[in-house]
């Protein structure tokens, strides 16, 4: 039903080529310009992006593959990604993997079939196999927040290991020796942060007994159960490092329920700062990621690959730095 370029042709008597050219920013006689403008207005003409995409082989759409759209962390990241894309004239086709690798695999194919110009992926899987269809179809992919062990794709992220290592100094320098960790072994970020933790402890000559290592998933449940378990130990740790937002929430829930207090009974160090942690008592020390920069860099790198034909083709990691948001959740021993 909507007007097409042919309707404009009939209305103005001009040729398709002239109209198309003008509509795409080309030059035409002022007289024709007016004619076209008038027809466009009267007919409420809007380009059919589908038809355009078929011939240009560009959709000006970037596919976003996100492990979970529900997580507040990804929400904030997507906001920045979307803003950066919008400013450069791109839209985003978001697919939610619901933390499920099978769904993720299907979603990836869906994006490729939709002919997105590129993909920004916050993957569930820890290997890049599922990205093969994109590679085959020559669709560039930039990983965001989460990387794979083999650096086959561009990736924009923080140095999770180092960020954790440095944050741990806060606990160690304040004389904590019995430090436990609740982390994820399922997610890339959780594993990296775990390594940073272990390194920091090793370098400080501190032992981490098995019972101090809660190594599950990035979930509220893991934080909750993990903290309960730690608090019930005979030899209770004096401090706990929690490797992400959800774990931190869950852990604090457990502390509240069991009647312990932080930092009196237990000191806390978390990851993924959000405004929310201002209103919790205590205010938790948190490693904060530069969300806007992460989104901006991912978009820049992807559009570079899409728009510059002669871009440096080798995979590239962009690693941004973090800061430690201080609070009052750590007691000096």
């Amino acid at each position: 039903m909507p007007a097409t370029i042919v309707d404009i042709k009939e209305r103005t008597g001009l040729s398709l080529a002239t109209i198309s050219k003008y509509l795409n920013g080309g030059n035409v006689l002022p007289e024709n310009k007016e004619k076209i403008d008038a027809a466009v207005k009267e007919l409420h003409y809007e380009v059919n992006e589908i038809a355009r995409g078929l011939v240009t082989k560009k959709t000006r759409t970037v596919g976003i593959l996100v492990y979970s759209i529900e997580s507040p962390f990804s929400g904030i990241l997507l906001h920045h990604v979307g803003e950066a894309l919008r400013k450069r004239g791109y839209g985003m086709l978001i697919v939610d993997s619901c933390n499920d690798e099978e769904i993720e695999e299907k979603n990836l194919k869906y994006l490729v079939n939709k002919k997105v110009d590129g993909i920004i992926a916050l993957p569930v899987a820890s290997k890049g196999d599922f990205l093969t269809p994109a590679k085959k179809a020559d669709v560039p992919v930039v990983l965001l927040d989460r990387s794979f062990t083999d650096a086959e794709y561009d990736c924009v992220r923080i140095d999770n290991r180092r960020a954790t290592y440095n944050a741990m100094k806060e606990l160690i320098s304040r004389n904590h020796k019995k430090i436990a960790i609740i982390a994820s072994q399922k997610e890339y970020t959780g594993r990296e942060r775990y390594k940073g933790f272990i390194e920091a402890m090793d370098d400080a000559g501190l032992d981490v007994p098995e019972e101090y290592r809660i190594y599950g998933t990035h979930s509220i449940a893991n934080g909750y159960n993990g903290m309960k378990q730690l608090l019930s130990l005979e030899n209770r740790p004096t401090a706990v490092f929690m490797s992400n937002y959800e774990i931190t929430l869950g852990a604090m829930l457990a502390i509240n329920e069991t009647g312990y207090n932080s930092p009196e009974d237990i000191s806390l160090l978390g990851f993924d700062y959000q405004l929310l942690f201002h209103i919790l008592q205590p205010q938790v020390y948190m490693v904060e990621q530069p969300m806007k920069q992460l989104g901006d860099h991912a978009v820049n790198r992807l559009l570079q690959r899409i728009e510059d034909s002669d871009v440096d083709d080798s995979p590239m990691e962009i690693v941004l730095s973090t800061r430690l948001q201080t609070g009052n959740s750590i007691k000096t021993l």
Copy 2:
């Protein structure tokens, strides 16, 4: 570079029509079936959805127009919407209005030009004017969470006014008389909840002095500043109703900072339950919305309009019920 149906034609010797028919579930001789399957596999053929869309005039994509993708509330809703769409074979093209009406207007046009089959809108604007391009292009729209005064579009939501009215009974029946409100006059939901509040107070014969009415936006800042203001009044209220998630967060931040306690010094009633409120002290009484049902109903209604040609055409409101999540933030006077 990817294989097309023509490549399959050359490989199998069959005609385009036959291949297309089979690929779309039609019947062909078993012999040909095998040939096509083999070719598809060898060539890694995948349909070009763009080309298909151009001829079928269906993209199997639903546009999502969301006021802010950053809000945890919308994140959860989008998760459910996405899941429901995926199960029915649709994808979602999400555009983020960043709480800005101008962006929203442009985004709407973008979706229409992208030829989405339908749109689910969580609008910023409080009037439906900006949706005209969708109407003109015959793209069905279902509003979600937020409605307009004139019921021109389908809408799936809760009864904000009644939900507030009923929740207020909890405060009123526990003898609170000096009850303040922090709400939004910018958003539809805020205004409706404000009305429900006023009605409840009126019916209880309770007065709401001007200084008890903080009427700004749904933001952490409004909650924070509003609560500070209320706490500094000479004639302090004994209870406060907060009209959404962000306001509740901000208000609790203010309470924590000023050293007051809830429920001892002030009783609290909020809106938009989230797991997070379990770990705050006190646990706030919250009106909880049926998120999954909201998403499911929005998708069902939209797909009905898209797929059933002879659907009841008149705009329809689907209003779901809420429940009150109890906590310990209300003192009985």
